[in-house]
Amino acid sequence: MIEIHHLHYHPILKDICAEFAPGEMVGLVGPNGAGKTTLLRAMAGVLRPTGGTVQVMGEPIHAREPRWRACRVAYLPQFVADDIPFTVREFVEMGRYSHAPSGVLGRADAAAVDDALAVMGLMGYQDTPLANLSGGERQRAAIARCLAQEAPILLLDEPIASLDIHYQLDILARLRALAGEGRLIIIALHHLELALAHCQRTVCLHRGRLVADGLPDEVFTPELLRAVFRVDARPFRDPHTGALRLSVSAAIPSTPE
């Protein structure tokens, strides 16, 4: 579904190669400045790489026009402004731009918006101004806007950062359900435990390079956690829930490079 060949974006990304298939829920992890946002933007086609290619459904995404891209890839940037002067429904309707650029929405568009609102549990907030929502609700509205695009691929840049634990788990559960329906979901995450527990696959970036790619428990080795995240930590299986957890014992002191 997405094939990345020797992707470079000087000086941030270096020689990234990866393939992603439908139905996967992929956690994109890495420390600050690793290149997660840049990689997502390159995959979404909004950033032109300095080398290599990103193919989406067999087509080089940077050679296609924005509306073509938006029909196939829904990308949620990291920051959603808190002063957007539209209602929740109007904001989600913006996701239909690639289908109805004039803004005159038909029945199919209205149905897609209704579905997106329903999936994100926002039907009761349709006419609420976006600025009146809590951070978690606003983030759900932003994901609903992505869903309204009806794209088979969702790229989400830290959609749960700064949310409380309820909204974090709620949004991840909803995304996992969407992956179960056959969509490809790639989500940049800072919270390693959540990546471990909720993603089927983890891709780890460090200083612009892809350093690990696989099942979460294969990726989060004590060695990788020490080298990349500079923490003494190890994954373990929770005896009560059976879920993978991370036991972090200490941060490794920084040394001058």
Partner: protein
């Protein structure tokens, strides 16, 4: 459509009709409102009585030019505020006004204006577009237009144009200076049907383009990256919008001279009434600009009779306090942590 929007459109339509009736009826020759249709009909039927000539040859073209120039300025202001994502933007920021004024002043000072009537509007139009093109070029690299660089380039080039205009004024004889002042402060004196037709043609071109892009302007308020993410070709939208806005403002400036603040005040007030959606906002701005310029012209013509104030002076007298009020409100909002 919400009830509030419907009321606002109704009020604008009424204000437009009322201001049009006042603009035609009031002046050195008073034309009773109920005589206007008959005098208009008489003029176009070829009668040349005093009232018919005043209505058909002087007041109607002046009104139509005021309506269309006001619409053009307010419309382009609304569009520039959308693509610059700055509620304080107005057509002045893309340099068309200052470029147009420079062109007009050069036409008068070089004597072209005395040789042919079209020289001044033609040079105002050409300089207006040229300055806008230079500003756009300065703000664009690698096919991306940086809106902050555009604003800075606009301020810098407008200052340069003002400096050159001041130098020319300084060196010009009094008679030429008066002619130049008309362009610097904008006026509707001597408006004619040809100018009205030109303005009507560019407005008719611009309005559908802007309305077609209205949904994209809505999306741009969420940020450029969000807009790109949902499929908006942000650079193309900015390019087309700037080009069309520059064109209609250049035609307006070449017809009426520099009229400031219409493009700032009207969209700003109407956004509060119409909400953030650009489709109704653009339509309302076109109507509101027409009302403001018509009423400003009426004030200019009647406030200090028998003399006339240039309409640009009236809009500036309204616009400057409004602009300062906006700055004050913004500061208060920040102080209150809003």
């Amino acid at each position: 459509m919400t009830r509030r929007r419907a009321w606002a459109f109704g009020a604008l339509a009424f204000a437009l009709l009322a201001s049009a009736a006042l603009e035609i009826g009031i002046g050195p020759v008073i034309i009773p409102f109920w005589h206007i249709p008959a005098d208009t009909w008489a003029y176009f039927a070829g009668h040349r009585g005093l009232d018919a000539v005043v209505v058909g040859a002087i007041r109607w073209p002046r009104l139509v030019v005021a309506v269309l120039a006001g619409s053009a300025l307010a419309l382009s202001g609304a569009v520039l505020q959308a693509i610059l994502r700055n509620p304080m933007a107005d057509p002045g920021v893309i340099g068309v006004s200052s470029g147009g004024a420079l062109g007009a002043v050069i036409a008068v000072s070089t004597g072209f204006a005395a040789r042919t009537q079209v020289a001044t509007p033609a040079l105002a139009f050409a300089f207006g577009l040229a300055v806008a093109a230079i500003i756009y070029r300065l703000a664009t690299s690698a096919r991306r237009t940086d809106m902050y660089r555009l604003l800075l380039a606009g301020v810098a080039l407008s200052s340069l144009c003002s400096a050159i205009i001041t130098a020319i004024l300084d060196l010009s004889p009094l008679e030429e200076m008066q002619q130049m002042m008309f362009w610097l402060f904008g006026g509707l004196d001597g408006s004619n049907w040809t100018e009205a037709a030109t303005l009507a043609a560019v407005n008719a071109l611009a309005m559908p383009v802007f309305l077609r892009l209205a949904f994209a302007y809505d999306i741009l308020t969420t940020g450029e990256e969000h807009a790109e993410a949902v499929g908006v070709d942000v650079e193309r939208i900015k390019r087309v919008s700037l080009a069309v806005a520059a064109l209609i403002v250049a035609v307006a400036v070449s017809t009426t001279g520099v009229i400031s603040f219409v493009g700032l005040i009207v969209p700003h007030i109407l956004r509060r009434l119409m909400g953030p959606n650009h489709r109704p906002l653009l339509a309302a701005s076109a109507m509101g600009g027409a009302v403001l310029l018509t009423l400003s012209d009426l004030v200019g013509r009647t406030a200090v009779q028998p003399a006339e104030l240039n309409v640009g002076i009236v809009t500036s007298c309204l616009g400057v306090p409004f602009f300062l009020y906006l700055l004050y409100r913004q500061r208060r909002g920040r102080d209150a942590g809003l």
